[in-house]
Amino acid sequence: MNPIDAQREIDRIRDAIDRVDEVIVRLLNQRAKYAIEIGEIKGILGLPIYAPEREKDVLHHVEKACEGPLDGPSMRRLFERIIDESRRVQREAAAANEQRTTENR
């Protein structure tokens, strides 16, 4: 492969990565929306944001669903960050809902 062809090939693959990233971002936001919905319910019912058992299930689930080339532990590490952020949006959603219910009273 000559250098010009190689550069063209790299550009093409990078372009494909950008498309994949767009999909990941869309899906992460979809996931966050669900997390927020749960946060709102937790806020109204006064349930704890932190659900260690559920977090364990999520990590176990993604590890099992992972077919490679990323291995289980790396998928687990990536999802730890996703869960960190989910917890944060849930906390915010729950707090907003708590306030709203207080105001309605």
């Binding site: 944001i49 932190y50 590490r77 960190d84 917890r87 906390r91």
Partner: protein, 337 residues
Amino acid sequence: MVIVMEKHAAETNIERVMAELITRGFDVHRSTGSDQTVLGVVGNVETIDPREFELFDGVQEVVRISEPYKLSSRTFRREKTIVKVRGVEIGGTDVVVMAGPCTIESETQVFETARRVGRAGARVLRGGAYKPRTSPYAFQGMGIEGLKLLRAAADENRMATVSEVMEISQIEGMLPYVDILQVGARNMQNFNLLTALGQTRRPVLLKRGMSATIQEWLLAAEYIMTGGNYDVILCERGIRTFETYTRNTLDISAIPVIEKLSHLPIIADPSHAVGRRDKVMPLARAIVAAGADGVLIEVHHDPDKAVCDGPQSLYPDQFARLMDELRIIVPAVGRRL
């Protein structure tokens, strides 16, 4: 803040720490390593006492990332603070030498000493009117009458004045005569006094307590600065160590450390640190070479007859010689004198 869990800490222990943090409204970034888990804590972590979490089972260490001092830190303000007083800039290119007697004793003493140190190049005249003496039977100072002499002697030699304030009630009366209010080592953690000085708009020279860490010292400066008075000059004056040969051990390393951590001017006082005249000159040279913004030196026109701290006061001729030596050193560290 970062919480480092012990190696192979039980999952229940990790969960207990996380639950506590999240309940208190913090966000947690969990990072599970192959055998050790680290929790990053995000939020208003100043409200957390790290010891609380160190007591949890499975916690190895709690590390604060941000410094507890804010206004005095370099992170808050990148460029150096220059304290301006009567045309003298402390913290700028010039190394400012402050000199004078430990205690104001008489008109002759103050005027004679001022003339000699002023001629040699000192820009600020020091002199105590209220003396914190170890013994209540020792001379306690001349008070306002002494400050009037200090002011007159400084004016005659076109110098600024620095003098120690001992308590809140003295501040008001000192303002007409004193350009820089000094807080002594013994008062470094007199938080009521510091808060009151924060309400003035007069530069404060804050000496390091003899057993104070650099962090405690900067937090003391913080008390003054939170009142809106940002003109704080830090002064290293020796700390207590196991060495008894000199009165205190001058912590030269505090100079570059403060320079890095804080934007406040840093000067040092070799006279109180060693308490012996023959050691003052080499230390003064080291202070300037280490990059200090100034030196505070005790000079007495007749040290052998001094009421207070005579053995650590330089003779005027010695002081003039020291100034000549400092003039050779300053260009090497990119400063002027």
